[in-house]
Symmetry: C3
């Protein structure tokens, strides 16, 4: 951190080099200098947005821990920490190249592994873009954690986490968003609209979560033999609520940051994101009040998340009024979806399948239906194709992977371990020793 | 999220269109291009600041939950979640138009409801500005929550929350800050100085909190019949402390963000905000040490908040040394004020009236007294007029509203509900089931 | 907060004054206008980064509280709050001048006390730079808190906190980073590489922590007479984990923000920071698994922090692949170091000496070894000189200071106070009264 006045002096655009950190060997024209300042603003925005999205990891960890039992809190923190740490390395080595490398087929990329495209003299934008994308990849991975909480072996979880960040997420991502270099994905070629990832990130996470929850089976005692459903209460609602506030904050990086450009278009994306979340939260509260008799906190929190997932695909191409409608539907949908999966006896402790899978699909459809520039049957069909392709790819791959893990290193802990809690059996710890749990 | 190299290429300013997201149909002059980049920086700053202010919602929720009992934690999370969610919709539909719509009278705006002034071809700044303002409106609303904690009916609270975000806050705000379009508020016309809202946001919240606390009456058992005061301890001080750190962070959006412009003036606002908070915290600790015998954590935390509220009005027009004095007075004032309201048997569980109402008034006065460009009797008089106008408007309106709610849908829960805790009676939940509360 | 359309109109560069908040009395040339917009971007980045680094205070507080017992939680929150509050005032009055004031000797600065160099007509960059530096100073101070947890008198801690922010940190800082005005530090003159402070911030904090832990002695019951080590479990692992997520987030301000310039170089710093943290976390988990039999949460969390500290010096001059190696070594090192200090019976409740002192030294060495532009013996020697100078200065000064405090106002609480917990004895409080601790 050098004294700054010197750096500021160097910024004098007619000196050589013009800007610290840039490399023009000769004086810049005004035109080039203006572009360079805009480029700097783009870097700032993209990387600050990456910070916000990174912080969502903490939000997911808190939501999952808060909505589950104290005896599994350490395990949940470890899973979320490793989702991001293992995921960062997996995305660096393999995922980024598969997702954003040069593609000729439109089905996966074939360059950019290990950030090898980046050289000291190369375009540093690759690094800024990688940073923004790695936090997206980690989001997809971490969604699954919640649906598999309280009964998954840690080694099995690590294996899953690596595969989703290295293969399952990036390959689908390349269909819709690839490539950074040459070529483009087949879904993108059809005109698929998914600005910030209702499908690419959230449905991928949600459908992988569904596969995981099915392969694992429900937690012991969740469903009784006579068909009853026993609620398993979360151990710390303030922590879960803080998690939702953090996620809401992080979404202001997730959606507007997906411009990766500092321009005026981010304003509408902010407003849409906020209005959909607010409406989802209010509607889920009202629906839970009607259906369950009380304004339920878990449903209200999930309603906010549902609104956020729902607006993610269309945040840049629908109006604020449409965002309210999208959020309202998301908020209602999530309540019914949570109850529906419970009826199917698929145990999803935090509602991840409903929030991310179901509302991600709805949001992707809505991005077509509420398109500001008009909607045609062709637009809606492409959205439906994208939704179905995501389900087919993700559910199939994830189901196969979880079955493979279950049959080899093992996916589910023993009933004794589940009873005792994963904190002690997997990590030799106790999250709250002073409270004598 | 399109591949970015293409977008970067589009930024070449002499191409058409010049910038992604903007609409100039012909090549930009250098002059216009420079202005556009500066505009982009203004959007970035305003919207990033909005993120920081949004996060204050989490801070308020944690402070309130931490300073009160575990049995009301879900209720507190729900109130804070709904303050922002209901408030966002109320401000979208009504509040923004009343506050920033075109005004001829200087008493309220009459356009911009439902963001109807914004069209796809319109100025997106309206949306960026709305986003920044909606988090301010929610702040005013959420301040009240703390003073009414542990004894308020949820339905009554929802009604209050809507009214304050739709009417009480925006109308006063239009006097001091309106309009975004045409006309200006009567207080603004007098030269009233309240840069970021010591009065407009914090005193409005604080005086509405006072009205609420009076109409509700104290929590059962807080004041004994022989005149004694029974402290009701908060259930989670680390959570409350985290809340204060989050609020301090959020204030770096609240005060400097109120420039809504990315320029060099934000540096002094940052420094003033920080120095006032630090001094308020240290002074409140010392005063509590002298008055109460120990360096008390609740007072110290409130001292930091007092310093932040105190500097909010004058952060852009007083010097760093003055900021230290303003913070010091705030830190002392808040301790005496908390003890004073307790003597009046007005039960304010988190000290919201003292922190936001009293220190907001002091800060507004101080913005005149410490004005860097000199102080005159006229300046001070206008500040006093603003302070009094705020109290008169807010306390009267809020008192009437709370009385109306109390007489219709009901404002206070029953003694049995209060004893059992609002988490169970209002929401059918338990914030910490594992801890067997 | 004035209506913004007016401000935007003022931005028209050929009007006078050109930009709100700036002072050119005559129209700007295009060249000057472009520079001004870049300057605004630099302010934005530096101050937003300062926000992120400020938030690390919350992270440190949570890590320390989570890793220690509930009965000392209030005390820990108070210490961390006062580190920043007292530290802000100490750095304002004395520290900033010593660190960044004009220096002729290269050993300390002699101007800029009380921000006296700043005048209303002066360069506001001084204020932006101060804001960024004060959060760094507070980081160095707060590191020590963890190593001294659960047994330190509050008055003794306040004295320490003032001295480290006013004297010990700034004087070493001036050797490596001074001055903002005229002159430079002697270590800087040698070519010492410490971009964001592996040595300047973290080792200073770590070695002061070592001195504090030695002077204090271990917590009662930590080491048994027969040479055994009794683990004292932290009371809230989710809170500690949240703290680590917050610190990781904050480091995205700490390292890339140290450019204090908005340019493209921040991208690589982001990527290096993230990859080193992720690798440190994974490696520490694996090493703890091998050494201790389980993937241990405390070690994994400290591994992430170790990776972050390790990359801090070299984040701007090593490649992403090197960052992974640096992080891997940090993650292994921290586990062995924690076990090593425990064998020496130096009780460091959170591992601060290992994370910040040891990994800070390693990171500083690595910044030379992995220098992208080539490594020479001279480069490595200078790094070693810097590492040794830091240890010699900091440990000596801190040891002397703690001995002085211990011999005057007292540093360690009584065994009875330690048993009862500092929350009650020092602050008259109870962090969790509802949980009947």
């Amino acid at each position: 951190m050098k004294p700054i006045l010197i750096v500021t002096a160097l910024l004098c655009l007619y000196l050589t080099p013009a800007f610290a950190g840039d490399t023009p060997p000769s004086p810049l024209s005004n035109k080039a200098a203006i572009e360079l300042v805009q480029t700097h603003a783009n870097y700032l925005w993209t990387l600050i947005a990456a910070c916000l999205v990174f912080f969502m990891q903490a939000g997911f960890a808190l939501v999952e821990a808060g909505f589950t039992r104290a005896k599994n809190s350490i395990n949940i923190m470890m899973k979320n920490l490793m989702d991001f740490s293992v995921g960062s390395l997996a995305f660096w080595a393999i995922g980024f190249g598969l997702m954003f490398g040069t593609t000729t087929t439109g089905f996966f990329g074939t360059s950019g592994f290990f950030l090898s495209d980046f050289t000291p003299d190369g375009d540093p934008w690759i690094l800024a873009f990688w940073m923004f994308q790695v936090v997206f990849a980690a989001t997809a991975a971490t969604i699954v954690s919640g649906a598999m909480a309280e009964r998954t072996k840690f080694t099995g979880y690590l294996a899953y986490s690596f595969v989703v960040s290295a293969l399952i997420y990036p390959i689908f991502g390349s269909w819709a968003w690839g490539s950074l270099f040459n070529g483009s994905g087949w879904l993108e070629g059809l005109g698929f609209i998914d600005f910030a990832g209702s499908t690419v990130v959230h449905s991928v996470g949600g459908w992988a979560a569904l596969a995981g929850a099915i392969v694992l089976g429900p937690r012991t005692g969740k469903y009784t033999k006579d068909g009853g459903i026993r609620p398993i209460m979360g151990h710390n609602i303030p922590l879960a609520s803080l998690g939702v506030f953090i996620l809401w904050l992080g979404w202001f990086g997730f959606n507007p940051g997906s411009t990766t450009t500092a321009d005026t278009s981010i304003a509408m994306i902010f407003v849409n994101t906020n209005l959909s979340a607010a409406t989802g939260c209010v509607v889920a509260m009202i629906v839970s009040w009607i259906k369950l008799g009380k304004p339920e906190v878990g449903m209200s929190l999930n309603g906010a998340l549902a609104g956020l997932v729902g607006i993610t695909a269309g945040c840049a191409n629908v109006s604020p009024s449409s965002a309210i409608i999208i959020g309202a539907v998301s908020g209602g949908l999530v309540v019914f979806s949570v109850l529906f999966f419970d009826k199917l006896r698929i145990d999803d402790p935090v509602g991840a399948v409903s929030v991310h899978g179901v509302c991600g699909a709805w949001g992707t459809l809505a991005a077509g239906l509420f398109n500001m520039e008009g909607v045609t049957l062709a637009i809606v069909m492409v959205q439906v194709i994208g939704i179905l392709a995501c389900f087919a790819w993700t559910f199939t791959m994830a189901f196969g992977m979880f079955k493979l893990i279950a049959g080899t290193i093992g996916l589910r802990c023993s009933p004794e371990e589940e009873l005792e809690g994963l904190d002690f059996t997997e990590h030799g710890g106790n999250a709250y020793p002073d409270f004598n749990l």
